[in-house]
Amino acid sequence: MADQGGSNHGIARTSRTRTEEQRQKDLERIKDYRALEDQVRHHAAKNDYSPDVFALTSKLLRLNPEYYTVWNVRRRCLISGLLSKPSPGSSPSKALPTSSPTATTTTSSADFSSSLSTETPPALESQTTGKSGTTAEDEDEEQKQQTRQQDQQNDQQILEKELHFTIPLLLESPKCYWIWSYRLWILKQVIERLPVPVARNIWEEELGLTSKMLLRDQRNFHAWGYRRHVVEQLESPELEGKSLVESEFEFTTKKISQNLSNFSAWHSRSKLIPRLLDERNANDEARKAFFEEELNKIGEAINVGPDDQSLWYYHQFLMLNLVNSAENPIIAPAFTQEERVAYLRREIESIQELLEDYDDAKLIYEALFDYTLYLCQLQERKPNEQEEKDLKGWLGNLKKLDPMRSGRWADLERDFGLKE
């Protein structure tokens, strides 16, 4: 019921007027910002990605999370030294130790430039110059294990800190692409560098985060797309996953009950249905029951929200299942022709009932028009006399209610020979 103007979904945008004092303050802030920015660019130009620069990017990104170049600088800081190094030729999780003891923030840039060199790390030397025989190799293997574990722990800390860093930025700018993409990159590192149980845990928390973001703004499409990606990863073999389709379907049900106008939730729902039914091994009877339940649900929704486009889209999605299912069976492929006709007729009738109370809802007339034609299409015939009369009538209502689209109505009139 709240005003939903603009892409901010009813969350008010505040406009501010400035006093002279505020203007001076702003000038100061701009000066500081530019200085910060110059510093970061200066270091990046010299390929200096030391921890100091890392700290500078933190400051700058807090002021301006949209500055994607600076996110890249930050990534480089991580790869260049804050995160553990994979050894050349071996998989990242089995990385050999670096020449500096621990890659934490206190080391100076000198150490990093040396670690980038091609100097042979001492560990490798001891392998070849130590005593021959299994003992030295065992010791070595143990040391490798230890350092690998240490690396993973260190990486985990760093990566978790990075995720934490982006949270306040996300809360303030929930639709900033760069923040989302940085989180994704970090999470990718999580899969590559950390043991599966740890990685899985972090990704599950990520799913929790998208739920929270979608609570704050249920129609944040970034969050929905992001959620789908997170779910995909959680289901993937890399994270030893299994299907989340039931809980995701339940999630759309919850979101819809909180806000019927949630286009993204209905859309997600429609995308989940094929896999949902397959995984349930739904037989024809189960599919029919499911179809009817969805029809009831959307019917209840349209009953209270006849002006809502997202609801009509979903209803149409269900109707197309009846009409097109030969080509694209989604829900219930085994309906007989009679059943399809019966469902369509029933829907057309109950939608007509809505006109008793909502005679100015243009989307109702559109639906009646479309579905009557679907019916004819299904039965491979032209509209009969009564249907033609109805179609003309509904078109007349549409012309009155939506004069801006007169061109469209005129086209329909012509295409279906409905000119008065």
């Binding site: 609570l215 009950s257 209840e300 209270v304 008793e356 109370d357 909502y358």
Partner: protein, 490 residues
């Protein structure tokens, strides 16, 4: 203000009484630099909107027994022979429990005056209708009133056709102030809203009850103009301060807490406070009044502001305050993800719904259920405030309503009543009255919803004190005394 006898100053205003209106006046004047003396004959703040510990309630009842005039009467306390009542100060029973819509003018003023920071606001949750058992085998039940589109979608209690009717009405109300809609309801403006709903929307009894309940109209006959205003405010308040609720309730005693916070602000602004001091006698001259206080002090003031304590024309109400030994969890469930847990729930027993032994109620009975989250009772308990029009059998109606409600909430382990306070309150005078240098603010409101109209009288009193030199736009608009980090108040 230098320390000295209060008789030495020529006060700009003496405010008598610390009820909500007088306290808001003190708040509005807290930055004016005026010399303000704020007294109250009671030894507690809040006046007719006070919140009592059990001890204070007892004293109050005793005192009323000796007085035979005034707005409150027929007060009595019953303590059933049931174990569980905690120590007296564990309770803070509100004399005038009122809901405050999120979009009410009061909240805007509390925000602009910065006083809101001192108050902890709790969410008011669901509104229920009590449904009497239909047959001998049936159980009484509580049905939630749907007030958002999603509520209407989810409820199984109404037919599809009725839902459409309700949606049409909700859409109408949201737009009721537009010229189109005005034409429809203007002819009914002073007639009961019930009639308008019947005539214009052909609403059935059930839906009419839902709508009237949202107005909390004590006689059920609120007129169309006022009724539409309240429903509109309820609907637009929904979600205004957070998901899932349309009204707020201040912790620690409701309106009394606001009165106390307002007085505190007055004191910080330099006003002198004296509890237990009333006006014994007064002597009026052309530009000042001399008051003799019950404390013995004699003070001179340019203006005296009091609350009118005379009985008005409108009907009285009968009220029952009951402490029960259950948290009544089912009443306080949050229905929306991310919504705060409500601490107040509303239950209405429509006329005729009380079918237990005795007469049915001819007026609605409203129940405000408060969880211990309000700070008004001990943990594990709840306070129920029942209100109805005062009639010859209203006390009995309230008792039986309490019983029926408790049975409907939990028939397996019916909550026991630990304490009951009953009283009647007469309607006060509705208008302000200025007689020379004495301004009497209207009497306390009997409304269950905090009424914005009452705020106008405070504003007028403020204007009287500050005079024409001050811009009206400055009313209740203050800056923080110290820099405050708003994050502290999340």
């Amino acid at each position: 203000m230098a320390m000295g006898s209060i008789g030495d100053t020529l006060w700009d205003v003496v405010i008598c009484g610390t009820g909500l209106q007088q306290s808001l006046l003190a708040l509005s004047l807290s930055r004016s630099g005026k010399n303000i003396l704020h007294i109250d004959p009671n030894d507690y703040y809040g006046g007719a909107e006070a919140a009592f510990s059990l001890q204070e309630a007892e004293s109050w009842v005793d005192r009323l027994a000796t007085e035979d005039k005034g707005l409150f009467r027929s007060a009595s306390i019953t303590k059933p022979d049931v174990v569980g009542l905690s120590f007296p100060r564990a309770y803070s029973l509100a004399l005038a429990p009122q809901l405050i819509h999120a979009r009410s003018e009061l909240l805007s003023q509390l925000v602009s005056s910065r006083a809101y920071r001192q108050v902890e606001f709790l969410a008011v949750g669901s509104f229920y209708i009590f449904k009497a058992p239909i047959g001998p085998e049936q159980q009484p039940s509580l049905v939630r009133i749907p007030s958002t589109r999603e509520d209407v979608f989810s409820t199984t209690a109404i037919s599809a056709k009725a839902k459409r009717g309700l949606m049409k009405f909700l859409r109408f109300v949201l737009d009721y102030d537009s010229p189109e809609q005005r034409d429809a309801w203007k002819p009914f403006a002073d007639k009961p809203l019930m009639d308008f709903l019947q005539e214009h929307f052909k609403m059935d009894t059930e839906l009419k009850t839902y709508i009237i309940t949202l107005t909390l109209s004590l006689d059920g006959r609120i007129n169309t103009k006022d009724g539409l205003f309240i429903v509109h405010r309820h609907l637009t308040s929904m979600g205004h301060f957070g998901p899932g609720f349309a009204a707020l309730y201040p912790k620690w005693g409701g309106t009394s807490e606001i009165a106390q916070v307002a007085c505190r602000a007055g004191a910080v602004g330099g006003a002198i406070y004296m509890l237990g001091a009333g006006i014994k006698s007064m002597d009026t001259a052309t530009d000042e009044i001399e008051l003799e206080l019950t404390s013995g002090d004699k003070v001179k003031t340019k203006l005296l502001v009091r609350g009118d304590e005379s009985v008005g024309d409108e009907p009285s109400i009968s009220r029952l305050v009951a402490v029960v030994d259950s948290p009544l969890k089912t009443l306080f469930e949050s229905t929306v993800d991310g919504a705060p847990t409500p601490c107040v729930a509303v239950v209405a027993l429509p006329p005729g719904s009380l079918t237990t032994s005795g007469e049915a109620n001819t007026d609605p009975v409203y129940v405000f259920a408060h969880s211990s989250g309000t700070g008004e009772c001990a943990n594990g308990q709840s306070v129920l405030y029942l209100s109805t029009m005062a009639t010859s059998n209203s006390k009995d109606i309230l008792s039986r309503s309490l019983e029926s409600l408790l049975f409907a909430v939990d028939r397996d382990r019916v909550p026991q009543c630990l304490y009951q306070l009953h009283y009647e309150q007469a309607a006060g005078v509705k208008q302000s009255r200025l007689d020379g240098l004495i301004l009497d603010l209207p009497g306390p409101s009997l409304s269950l919803l905090l009424d914005d109209a009452s705020l106008n009288h405070v504003r007028e009193a403020w204007k009287k004190v500050v005079g024409d030199a001050v811009d009206d736009a400055e009313y209740m608009v203050f800056t923080d005394r110290e820099p405050v980090d708003d994050d502290d108040y999340e």
